[in-house]
Symmetry: C2
Subunit: 198 residues, 2 copies
């Protein structure tokens, strides 16, 4: 298969990963079976345009046919437009992922809840901060609040959760700005992928 096709497949997975969606979640959003998404991402099918559009739309992407010589400029714009996520320590990263997932679940079960937007905003603003591992339990606690509120349908729990998150944001922001770092690619903590077995 042509490299351009592979590039499309790679890009779809890249964006899905960036949005931290599982294939099953994307499947629901796009109306395409999970098995099919897997096959598409692993580039083992010559997918139809309708499938591509469905998945791309679900990922908030549009298909653009652009002149070859405009490609570099367009890549640049795309990069600028894409929100870069702060890279968190692994445990924090995973917990944030869970948090997002809890919020998405909430969106499905109670889409009209007025606090939902508030909650999403609070979470998004957290994402942009470098979060120390010592806040892990706070994050967990917030998530549990959301989850049980969702189960028991006691929506005032959501209100609490949003407030906790805002408070937490202030705490985190005020904590140790000595540990300076930009939104860069290189994390401040040491990645655990140091295969130093010597």
């Amino acid at each position: 298969m042509r490299y351009e096709i592979e590039a499309v497949a790679d890009r779809l997975r890249e964006v899905r990963d960036a949005k931290q969606l599982s294939q099953r979640e994307l499947s629901r959003l796009a109306g395409v079976p999970q098995a099919q998404i897997s096959r598409i991402e692993s580039n083992s099918v010559d997918l139809r345009l309708s499938s591509l559009v469905a998945i791309a739309s679900a990922l908030d992407l549009e298909i653009a046919l652009v002149p070859r010589k405009a490609v570099p400029a367009i890549k640049s714009i795309t990069r600028q437009t894409t929100d870069r996520t702060v890279i968190q320590p692994p445990t924090i990263g995973k917990e944030m992922q869970q948090l997002q997932k809890a919020i998405r679940a909430l969106q499905i079960d109670a889409p009209t809840l007025p606090e939902l937007d508030d909650l999403r905003r609070a979470a998004a603003s957290l994402q942009r901060l470098q979060i120390d591992t010592r806040f892990l339990d706070n994050l967990r606690s917030v998530r549990h609040t959301i989850e049980s509120a969702n189960i028991t349908e006691q929506w005032n729990g959501i209100f609490e959760a949003a407030n906790s998150m805002k408070a937490l944001r202030i705490q985190i922001a005020h904590f140790k700005p000595e540990n300076e770092q930009r939104s860069a690619n290189r994390p401040a903590y040491s990645l655990d992928e140091d295969d130093d077995d010597a």
Copy 2:
């Protein structure tokens, strides 16, 4: 079918038109049957990605999956990057089309001919000028020179043709710059599409 798919189909036709390629010519370039191209452009099939890539490549386009919010910026870049063609009076426009076609034919029959690039450049530079109808015969003559050179395989005719075009360019450029007009959308002459039957 979804509007995004229609948009792709429309864009393919738009670019093909802009490049003044017939479906059959594009067919040869892309390795896709003309019938299929027709079906695709009229949006009566849900084409596969491989087909899209083949056709897009032949049109010198790439497929980009871009964030929705970047779309306006990307459209703008695409527009800037796309060469705008001067709109000629109908007769001139058609003759220039024929000329391009003759050159393309030449490219197929004698791809290694050294003057070919020269010829193409000369034609391209003509395209950017506003050409008065009085030069119609000159253009025709140049084209005939090329065509018969191609048939008789007397390639020195191509050399002549290229020189004639360069001379013609100077003539045209020096002629009546009073008839001022930018590369705009609105032509200086009156379009023949005035359905005044009264």
